[in-house]
Assembly symmetry: C2
Homo-oligomer: 257 residues x 2
């Protein structure tokens, strides 16, 4: 179901995660989930995530495809001082702009590092020409924005702080709300009735997720949409469906998600 | 660095994660890390991960782009009985093949469900014409393969079991090994020397990852490649570099990664 992002007026987002450490399996990404939740609360559904290697051609291809298609593109990773940090140069290439030392970033880095500022650290002051800086309250080295692309750090605490620095610059739609209902019923038992409920509420995205816990099997049904009253009505339908099958339904949550 | 995947003869892989629940931030994906590690051990580096919504056009576009480019493509998610499970139909569309009820899958589902087999559950026996089944020792409903695309469940325990069912069908290269060295040194202090070490060992992929723990800051350097002796030599260089700067180096690991 893609109903949430269907209206032409709804802003959307994509995320490009830059990092061999994710593709090798060494590191478990956690930035995607944090960004997805924050963007959902801002009414900007995340439409795609791509994880690409530390390779300029791969980064350029992903960013150029997604920035043409979505309202906002976020990147995480690859903005440090070492040889494998090639995001700034890759974004410059994607926009066909020169990579420059951003004067304000140089000032920030000089103030932060003092005598310890060296060539490698000055690399963290490089941005594509015309970029706007994104504040980094954790470790000084800024992120940056070029048009609709926001370049963030990969370290989770810094990524989150940078996102909060820029969030007020984003234009969101109505917050995406969710309700969830769970029961010890199997997906295969509810599927037909559930499809009928989804058809009745096309403006809501209903997902079905089987679970197994301690030998018990069940299903969690998640309804997502922007209208609280409609979500309540969907929950009522879901509970009735489950109870009609002779199972107990538990309503799990209400809120942004 | 993309050295690991550069030789034309090296098999590569991509992963397409199908699921609104990942894009909404409700669910943290764990399948990517498991697959990345298993594929690395089999000598099949994972080159890209895409997370796409439960939307046929998005699934078709991702699968068709990646199957033309990589040796193997794996998909996870969307093969259950409910309305939001559209992976089989989407893969059929990607290959321009009809979606059929696979006779062997029908037999498996009939044996498993008996009288509880219904139309929704029979949906889990649908595959593109000409698909080969992938065994599901956990919950019966099979995955399937079409050419170089392997369609797996999203539930982690089932995904892992399906992967082990198919692993012997994959042609891998030499296993990708990793060594890691960590020290309480900052990335900005090692960057120049590290770039020189990377230049000296182009057949190894050296990544640099800053860390912060309990107020201390440091860097972990990870070398990945297929030649154990070369990795040892790189580790020796990394340790010498760190000690020359007056820090203690700790070698973290050896093995597949």
């Amino acid at each position: 179901m893609t109903s949430l992002a269907s209206p032409e007026s709804t802003p959307t987002a994509a995320l490009v995660i830059i990092g061999n450490e994710i593709l090798s399996g060494r590191t478990q990404d956690s930035n995607a989930q944090v960004l997805a939740q924050r963007l959902g609360a801002l009414g900007i559904p995340l439409r795609e995530i791509r994880v690409v290697p530390d390779d300029q051609a791969a980064i350029v291809a992903a960013v150029n495809t997604l920035r043409a298609r979505e309202t906002y593109v976020f990147t995480t990773g690859g903005i440090g001082p070492t040889h494998d940090d090639i995001t700034a140069a890759s974004i410059a290439a994607a926009f066909d702009r020169p990579l420059i030392r951003h004067p304000e970033a140089v000032r920030i880095m000089t103030a932060h590092y003092g005598d310890a500022l060296n060539g490698a650290r000055l690399k963290m002051a490089e941005t594509p020409e015309g970029a706007t800086l994104i504040d980094n309250p954790v470790s000084a080295a800024p992120g940056f924005r070029v048009e609709n692309v926001f370049v963030l750090a990969g370290v989770p605490a810094i990524m989150r702080a940078m996102f909060e620095s820029l969030a007020s610059d984003l234009t969101g739609g109505p917050p995406i709300l969710s309700r969830a209902v769970t029961a010890a019923v199997r997906e295969g038992q509810v599927a037909a009735s559930l499809a009928a409920i989804q058809a009745r509420w096309p403006q809501v995205d209903i997902g079905s997720y089987p679970w197994a816990r301690g030998g018990a099997l069940g299903t969690t049904l998640v309804a997502r949409g922007t209208d609280r009253a409609v979500l309540e009505a969907v929950v009522t339908d879901l509970v009735a469906m489950i109870e009609d099958l002779g199972y107990a339904a538990t309503i799990l949550e209400s809120g942004a998600a």
